[in-house]
C-alpha cells in the first residue's frame, strides 16, 4: 500500500519534472538568434526565389513561429491552441521537421524504437558483464583474477568507441561472418515483423551492443568492486562467517545485496549517457537511431525535431531514475521504513 502511494507520488513528480524540462529544452533551443525558417527566408530572398518565400512564410504562421516565445512554447507543448486548434506534444503532434520537410513523427518513428532497443541491449550487456566480473574481482581482490578484470576494464574504458567498432566489424565479419553496419538486412527495411527480421536485427545488434556497452560495463565493474570491498570488511560479514556459511552463499546473500544499491541507482544515469555517448558510434556503425538525427537537427536549427529528440531523451532519463528509485525502495528496507522512522 505504502509502495503504491510512493509510486504514485514519484510518477507525479516525474511528470512535473518533465514539464520543467520541456520549458528548458524549448528555451535553450531557441537561444541562438533566428530560426530555421527565418534563415531560409533570408536565403531565399537573397537568391530571389519568391514562391519559396511564400511557402516559408506560410509555415511560419502555421507553426506560430511569428509569435512570442512563451506562446510558441505553450502551443508546441499543447497547453494552448495554435493556429489550427490544440495540436502539440500532449495531443501527440510532434511538429514539423523543416530540414526533412516531413512530420517529426515520420522521421523519428522507427528510429525511436531502434534507439530504445540498442540502448536497452547495451544496458543489459553492461549489467550482465559488470555484475559477475565486479563480484569476482572483489572476492578475489589482489589476485590474478582481480588484476585481469581490471586490465580488461581499463582497456575497455580507454579504447575509443568508434575504433573498437571498426575493429569488431572487421574481425567479426572476417571470422564470424557478422554483418557490417545498419540494424537489419536491407531487405527487411520497412517490412513487417517476421522471424527472419528478428534474427537479422539480433545479429546486427551484437557489435553495437558490445561497442556501446563496453566502457559503461568497465566503469560499473570498478564501482561494484569498490562497493563490494567496502562491504566485505563490515562486521556483519564476519557474523555470517562465524555462523558457518560457505563463502559463495555468504557473498551473494549479504555483501552483494548491500553493494547492489548503487548498482541499481545507476540505471537512471546509464540510459541518457549511453544515448548521447552512442551518437558517434551510431554514425560510424550506420545505425538508424535518433543520435545522428539529433546531430543534424541541432546543426540546422530544426527546432521541432531537436526539441522532440531532447524531450525523448529526458523522458528516458526520468523513467530510468523512477525505475531505480522504485527498485531501491523494494530492495532496501531502510529506505522503505526510513520515511516512517523520520
Amino acid at each position: 500500500m505504502m509502495f503504491i502511494r510512493y509510486a504514485a507520488y514519484r510518477l507525479l513528480t516525474m511528470l512535473l519534472t518533465l514539464v520543467v524540462v520541456s520549458m528548458l529544452v524549448f528555451v535553450i533551443i531557441n537561444l541562438p538568434p533566428g530560426d530555421y525558417l527565418s534563415n531560409q527566408i533570408a536565403e531565399l530572398r537573397a537568391t530571389g526565389q519568391a514562391e519559396g518565400v511564400a511557402k516559408a512564410e506560410f509555415l511560419r504562421t502555421e507553426y506560430a513561429l511569428d509569435r512570442p516565445l512563451w506562446q510558441q512554447y505553450l502551443i508546441w507543448a499543447g497547453f494552448a491552441p495554435g493556429p489550427n486548434g490544440f495540436s502539440g506534444l500532449l495531443q501527440g503532434d510532434f511538429g514539423w521537421s523543416f530540414e526533412f520537410d516531413r512530420p517529426v513523427a515520420d522521421i523519428v518513428g522507427n528510429a525511436l524504437w531502434l534507439t530504445v532497443l540498442v540502448n536497452l541491449a547495451a544496458v543489459l550487456f553492461v549489467y550482465a558483464v559488470a555484475l559477475p566480473l565486479g563480484v569476482l574481482a572483489a572476492a578475489k581482490s589482489e589476485t590474478a583474477v582481480d588484476y585481469t578484470a581490471a586490465f580488461v576494464g581499463y582497456l575497455g574504458l580507454a579504447t575509443p568507441n568508434f575504433l573498437l567498432a571498426l575493429m569488431l566489424f572487421y574481425y567479426g565479419n572476417k571470422y564470424l561472418g557478422l554483418p557490417i553496419g545498419g540494424l537489419m538486412d536491407p531487405i527487411y527495411e520497412g517490412e513487417p515483423m517476421s522471424p527472419g527480421k528478428v534474427k537479422s536485427v539480433l545479429l546486427h545488434l551484437i557489435v553495437p551492443t558490445f561497442v556501446i556497452g563496453t566502457s559503461g560495463a568497465a566503469a560499473m565493474m570498478q564501482r561494484l568492486r569498490a562497493n563490494m570491498l567496502d562491504e566485505l570488511s563490515k562486521p556483519y560479514v564476519e557474523t555470517a562467517k562465524a555462523k558457518g556459511m560457505s563463502p559463495t552463499r555468504l557473498l551473494t546473500k549479504y555483501p552483494l545485496r548491500m553493494a547492489f544499491n548503487p548498482f541499481v541507482a545507476d540505471i537512471g544515469n546509464l540510459l541518457p549517457s549511453m544515448i548521447s555517448g552512442s551518437v558517434l558510434v551510431s554514425v560510424v556503425l550506420g545505425l538508424q537511431t535518433i543520435g545522428p538525427a539529433l546531430l543534424t537537427a541541432l546543426k540546422s536549427q530544426d527546432q521541432f525535431l531537436a526539441a522532440f529528440i531532447l524531450m525523448f531523451v529526458a523522458l528516458l532519463t526520468l523513467i530510468g531514475t523512477m525505475v531505480s528509485d522504485l527498485l531501491l525502495v523494494l530492495l532496501d528496507p531502510r529506505i522503505r521504513y526510513g520515511a516512517r522512522d523520520g
Binding site: Y6, A242, M258, P333
Partner: protein
C-alpha cells in the same frame, strides 16, 4: 577430564613482523566462563577469533594448537579443513560481537538471519526453523517473538540487537559461546541485562563461555577463570577470585589501579558556591520535530525539558545519563551549536563581573569572541582530527581563523600546547594516523587549548579509550584545569569517571535532570530511583561484591512504579527540589 577447549602455544603474526599474539595457553571446561582481559592491542580479540579461524586476511597462524573436545573425539581446530570448520562455526562454537549495530545485516529480517543458522547446520525447513527461533527469542527475552522475527535490525535498540545476536548464537545450542566485548557499546543497565541473559542461558544449557572484555567489573561478575593479556602475551591467569582478589602480576595491578570506581563516601560535601558562574542554563528546553512519512502527522521529541544548570568558574559540572537522556543536546546548546526552544536562556560570563552574554542572542563580534573562549573536546579522537592535516596545521588553524599572532607565534603556541598535554613538539610535522588513541585525544585537547579558552565542553572524552589511557587523560584534564583556571562542562555516561573529576553532577533521564549534587553528596546518599539504579548497575572489580544482574537489569523501571515520593505519570514530572543544601532531587515534597 579433557577440557572442552585447550589452547596451546598459540602465536599469530602479520607479515614479517614479530608475532602480535605469542605463546598463549588456556583451557576452558564445559559449562565454565573464562574471561580474557586486556586493553586494545593486547591480542585478546585475535586470540578469540582464532578459535573460529575468522582472522583478518593478512594474519598468519604461526604456531599452536586449539584442541576442541566434542564429547568423544578431540580435533585441532587450527588444522581442520575448511568444510569441517564451517560445521563447527555457529553450530558447536558460536560468537557474538562488540557492535550489535553493525553486526547484523541491515537488509535482512532478524528472523531470516537467525533461522539461517538452523538451515545451515540442521537442514531444517522454514516452518521448523521458525518454531525453534521463536522459542529462542522468547528465552532471550523478546516480549513479542513474532514481531522480533519480522523486524529489521534498524528497528531495534542496541540492547535488543544484542539480544538478537545472542539468539543467533544460541539457537543451535552450542558447546561454547565466544563473546567479544558484548556489552562495551551498551549503557550500564542494558549491559546488566545482557550479562544476566548470558549467565541464565549458560545455566540452562550448560555451555561454556569465553568472555573477551577490558572491564574488570564485568569479569568479576561473570567469570570463573581469568586470563590477563598484554601485548600479545598472557600476563597472568587463574581462577577469578585469586586473580582479582590478589593480582600477582604488575600489569594486572596497574589495570586495577586505573579502573575507575564509584567511591565509598564517608560524608556529603559542602554545596558549591555559585557566586561567580561562568555559564548558566536557565529553563532550557529543546524539542525536535520528527517528520512523519508522507502524510503522517509529525511527532515531537523532547530532548531537554526545563534544564537549569550553573557552572561556577574554575569548576567541573558533569552531566550524566544513558544514551537518549539529552546530555549531548545540552552540551550543544551550551556551546551555541544548537538553538534551544524559545524561552530558554543560556548566559555566559566571560570574566568575573563582566557583562553577561546571551549565547543564543549575540552580535557577530560577540559570537566570535565567545567561540574563542568556549571550546569543545569530542568523544572519538579517531574521527575528530582530519587525517589529511598535519598536527601543526590542525593546532594552528583555530588561531588562523581568529587572526591571532604571526605564523611563527602560532607555531610556537602549538608547540607549547603539545608540551602542555604531554607530547613532544617534534610531533608537529606528523599526521594523526601516527598517533595512538590516547595521544590523539591529547592532540584534540591541545587543539581546544590553543585559543586560551576559559570554558571547555568535553563530550565523553574518554569513552573511546582504554582504562589506563582514560586514567591518563583524566589526570591531564584535571591538571590543565587547575593550571589554566578552566571550567569544564563534562558529558559522560560513566558515573565512576564523573565521580573522579566533577565538582557537581547532574543526572539526566529522558531530557530531565532528576538529581543534582556534588559527587560526594550524590554517592553518599543517592535519593532518586534512577540514580540508584545507575549506581547499582555499575559492576565493580570485586568478586565478593557481585551485582544482582536480574535486579539491576530492570533499571529504574518506569516512573509509575517508583516510590510514592518520586512517582509520576506521563510527562508530569515533579519539580526539582533542594532536599539538603546543594542536593537537588526531582520529587514531591
Amino acid at each position: 577430564m579433557t577440557p572442552l577447549l585447550d589452547v596451546q602455544g598459540l602465536s599469530i603474526g602479520f607479515g614479517d613482523a614479530p608475532p602480535v599474539v605469542q605463546d598463549v595457553n588456556f583451557t576452558v571446561n564445559a559449562g565454565e566462563t573464562l574471561a580474557i582481559v586486556g586493553e586494545s592491542g593486547s591480542g585478546k580479540t585475535l586470540t578469540c577469533r582464532s578459535v573460529l579461524r575468522i582472522l583478518p586476511g593478512a594474519a598468519q597462524l604461526r604456531a599452536g594448537q586449539i584442541n576442541y573436545n566434542n564429547g568423544d573425539t578431540v580435533t585441532d581446530l587450527l588444522t581442520l579443513n575448511e568444510r569441517k570448520m564451517r560445521n563447527v562455526r555457529g553450530n558447536r562454537i558460536s560468537m557474538i560481537f562488540q557492535e550489535p549495530m553493525r553486526s547484523l545485516s541491515p537488509l535482512h529480517r532478524i528472523g531470516n538471519q537467525v533461522s539461517e543458522v538452523l538451515h545451515l547446520h540442521r537442514g531444517m525447513g522454514t516452518a521448523d526453523a521458525k518454531r525453534d527461533v521463536l522459542d529462542t527469542f522468547e528465552r532471550v527475552g523478546f516480549a513479542d517473538p513474532e514481531r522480533a522475527y519480522r523486524a529489521y535490525p534498524f528497528e531495534m535498540s542496541g540492547g535488543m540487537r544484542q539480544r538478537a545476536m545472542i539468539a543467533m548464537a544460541m539457537v543451535s545450542k552450542p558447546d561454547l559461546l565466544i563473546a567479544d566485548e558484548p556489552t562495551t557499546a551498551l549503557d550500564v543497565t542494558t549491559q546488566a541485562q545482557v550479562l544476566g541473559l548470558i549467565k541464565n542461558l549458560q545455566k540452562e544449557t550448560g555451555m561454556a563461555v569465553i568472555l573477551v572484555t577490558h572491564d574488570l567489573g564485568v569479569v568479576a561478575n561473570m567469570a570463573e577463570k581469568v586470563v590477563v593479556m598484554n601485548k600479545g602475551r598472557v600476563m597472568e591467569s587463574g581462577p577469578a577470585p585469586a586473580v582479582l582478589g590478589n593480582p600477582g602480576h604488575g600489569y594486572t595491578q596497574k589495570l586495577f589501579a586505573a579502573a575507575p570506581v564509584i567511591p565509598k563516601v564517608a560524608e556529603p560535601s559542602a554545596p558549591l558556591n555559585y557566586d561567580d558562574p561562568i555559564l548558566e542554563l536557565k529553563s532550557v528546553c529543546k524539542t525536535y520535530t520528527v517528520r512523519g512519512a508522507g502524510w503522517r502527522a509529525k511527532t515531537k521529541v523532547h530532548a531537554c525539558i526545563d534544564v537549569n544548570l550553573t557552572l561556577p568558574r574554575g569548576k567541573t559540572l558533569a552531566v550524566v545519563g544513558e544514551s537518549g537522556s539529552g546530555k549531548t543536546t545540552c552540551a550543544r546548546i551550551a556551546l551555541g551549536a544548537e538553538a534551544p526552544d524559545t524561552g530558554s536562556k543560556v548566559i555566559f560570563h566571560g570574566a568575573k563581573g563582566s557583562d553577561p552574554l546571551p549565547v543564543h542572542n549575540m552580535t557577530r563580534p560577540e559570537r566570535v569572541a565567545f567561540q574563542r573562549q568556549a571550546q569543545m573536546v569530542f568523544q572519538d579522537p579517531y574521527s575528530s582530527l582530519s587525517p589529511r592535516m598535519r598536527v601543526q596545521e590542525a593546532l594552528t588553524e583555530p588561531m588562523e581563523i581568529h587572526g591571532i599572532g604571526t605564523r611563527a607565534d602560532r607555531r610556537d603556541k602549538a608547540a607549547e600546547m603539545l608540551r602542555w598535554v604531554g607530547l613532544n613538539p617534534d610531533m608537529l610535522k606528523r599526521f594523526p594516523h601516527a598517533f595512538s588513541g590516547g595521544q590523539r585525544q591529547r592532540l584534540s585537547i591541545a587543539r581546544a587549548l590553543t585559543l586560551d579558552p576559559s570554558l571547555l565542553v568535553c563530550d565523553e572524552p574518554t569513552s573511546a579509550l582504554d582504562v589506563s589511557v582514560q586514567e591518563q587523560i583524566l589526570t591531564l584534564l584535571e591538571d590543565i584545569r587547575d593550571r589554566m583556571g578552566l571550567s569544564y562542562l563534562f558529558i559522560s555516561h560513566d558515573l565512576a569517571v564523573v565521580a573522579r573529576i566533577a565538582d557537581e553532577v547532574a543526572v539526566m533521564r529522558q531530557g530531565v535532570v532528576v538529581e543534582q549534587a556534588p559527587p560526594d553528596t550524590l554517592f553518599y546518599d543517592p535519593q532518586h530511583p534512577y540514580t540508584q539504579a545507575l549506581i547499582a548497575a555499575q559492576p565493580e572489580p570485586d568478586v565478593n561484591r557481585p551485582i544482582d544482574l536480574s535486579l539491576v537489569a530492570n533499571g529504574a523501571g518506569s516512573p509509575d512504579t517508583w516510590p510514592e515520593m518520586f512517582r509520576f505519570d506521563g510527562s508530569a514530572a515533579p519539580d526539582l527540589r533542594e532536599l539538603t543544601p546543594g542536593h537537588k532531587v526531582r520529587c514531591h515534597v
